[in-house]
């Protein structure tokens, strides 16, 4: 009897907190996203009206408004492309690093792993700020390039989409390396030797042995990078210019500048549906697929 009480306490304390402070806020976003907007405070009408009998006052106009305007769709597409490119570069840099760390001897491996992850512990905002210093017109990169005689006048490196990609790859790299390392670490190195003995060359060994076995790590790392990057606000704000608008910026401005709460909520809720829902589905499918393939 006592055990049950205790179990309930353990299960329901966080349950209560998360329903109240996580689920209900998400529900409120949905509620406001289907409200009729108006001038005033708060800038939307209630969805239940009682003045002349009970009436439900909802609209999908906010969604129609967002999905019919290229300004919003275009920004979201920009964010998706940005996330795709950044994830690709994180993988390109992260994979060889994770692979070589995982194949080092044990003592070196732990040191290297800590070294790779430690920058992740230092402030995110300040790491982005560091790139602002490096990419300045009179910044260290331009100075080096000028002194080497590669360029004759400073390049405009900051405030464009390339600077944004640079900042993202830099700050999110550890998030890619960790799960990759996690899977590569479990991996039996003899398999590579075996594959070579069986006559596969390096390229074939990579594509037939190493890549399939590290696929779960690649998927996990890519998701950890891709999703937050779609909603990224700080990096484009600090390093980006006006050449491209992104989802995060649009959402921020819709709420704080245009004071269009229903519109901002519709944007946010669409983001949840487009980003988070596929992952839940994907995880279910993937776990089924991997179960089937292991047997």
């Amino acid at each position: 009897m006592k055990n049950k009480l205790f179990e309930k306490y353990f299960v329901f304390s966080p349950y209560f907190w998360l329903v109240l402070f996580f689920f209900i806020p998400l529900a409120i976003i949905f509620k406001i996203s289907i409200s009729v907007s108006e001038w005033g405070m708060p800038p939307y009408q209630d969805i239940f009206l009682f003045d002349n009998g009970f009436k439900i006052n909802t609209t999908f106009e906010n969604y129609v408004y967002i999905f019919s305007d290229y300004y919003y769709i275009g920004s979201f597409v920009n964010s998706l492309i940005l996330a795709l490119i950044s994830t690709f570069f994180c993988l390109l840099i992260g994979f060889p690093l994770a692979f070589y760390i995982a194949t080092s001897n044990i003592r070196l491996r732990n040191i290297l792993l800590v070294l790779v992850v430690i920058p992740f512990w230092s402030s995110f905002l300040l790491r982005v700020y560091a790139w602002k210093i490096i990419l300045q017109n009179n910044g260290i990169l331009n100075v080096i390039l000028l002194n080497l005689g590669i360029i004759s006048e400073p390049l405009q490196l900051l405030y464009n989409q390339y600077a944004v990609i640079m900042g993202i790859v830099y700050t999110y790299l550890p998030l890619m390396i960790l799960p990759l390392y996690g899977y590569l670490n479990k991996f039996d190195l003899n398999l590579i030797e075996a594959s070579k003995d069986l006559g596969l060359n390096r390229i074939k060994t990579f594509f037939k042995v190493i890549l399939p076995l590290s696929l779960p790590g690649i998927v996990a790392g890519s998701l950890l990078v891709f999703i937050p990057v779609v909603g990224e606000f700080i990096i484009p704000e600090m390093l980006g210019g006006s050449d491209r608008l992104y989802y995060g910026k649009i959402l921020w401005e819709e709420f704080f500048v245009n004071r269009n709460w229903p519109g901002a909520s519709a944007l946010a809720f669409s983001g949840i549906i487009i980003l988070v829902l596929p992952i839940v589905i994907f995880q279910i499918l993937y776990s089924r697929w991997s179960q089937k393939n292991e047997i």
Binding site: L18, V117, L126, I134, Y170, P174, G231, E232, I234, L251
Partner: protein, 264 residues
Amino acid sequence: MKSSLIKSTVIFLGLFFLYFPILVLIFYSFNENKRVMVWKGFSLKWYNELFNNEQIIEAFIISIKIAALSATFATILGVMIGYSLVRIRKIPFKSFYIFLSSTPLVLPELILGLSMLLFFISLNNIIGFPSSRGQLTIFISHVTFCIAFVAIIIQARLTDFNKNIEEAAMDLGYNYTKVLYKITLPIILPSIIAGWLLAFTISLDDLVVASFTTGPGANTLPIVVFSKVRLGLSPEVNALSAILMFALIIIGLFYFYCNKKFKH
């Protein structure tokens, strides 16, 4: 021989890429010139300015306070989730429970921040609380998204945990609660500390959610720093960076020490 050369080169370049920006930041914090990019000479001037900047000091104290409190709450609730998911069979609507405790990990901060702000505004309209946003609302939001990080660490630890020790203690007459407090929690203590440190750092570092849920008198350190560097460079922020990087890296090392302890 050739492949080991490639290996060393890759590792060296990777580490260089990760550390170069941090070193640049620290290097320029010693620049005497007010124009951050033009080197004039070594000086501790900006450190001095930093310690006399009341706005930054105040923000720092607020941030530490919020981070310590929200890390503590998030750790308590996160340990409960981790324990429930691994040890307790009957959880009503288990997939909903898993959804609630893992979605904050992947949800973009911006959406989380917006939802919290709209929640607090709606709550205020209905019950008149919280009448204004500030440290309390930031604290609540930070607990909410730090829980998931602690839960994942504890869950991983408990999954590896040898259940026999708990069962042996039960056989020796310990009841359920006693096993938890005398056996399970002490053994996973390093992981609990690791979870607390992670939550503390995440809260200390958060800009987006805090920007949404802040109010009068609750400018956290990232909010102040962001307002200073959004449009330009600030030599004081350079000095702050150097100190903060150093402090956070030490916390990070301590985290590794705690989290590694049980693995070997």
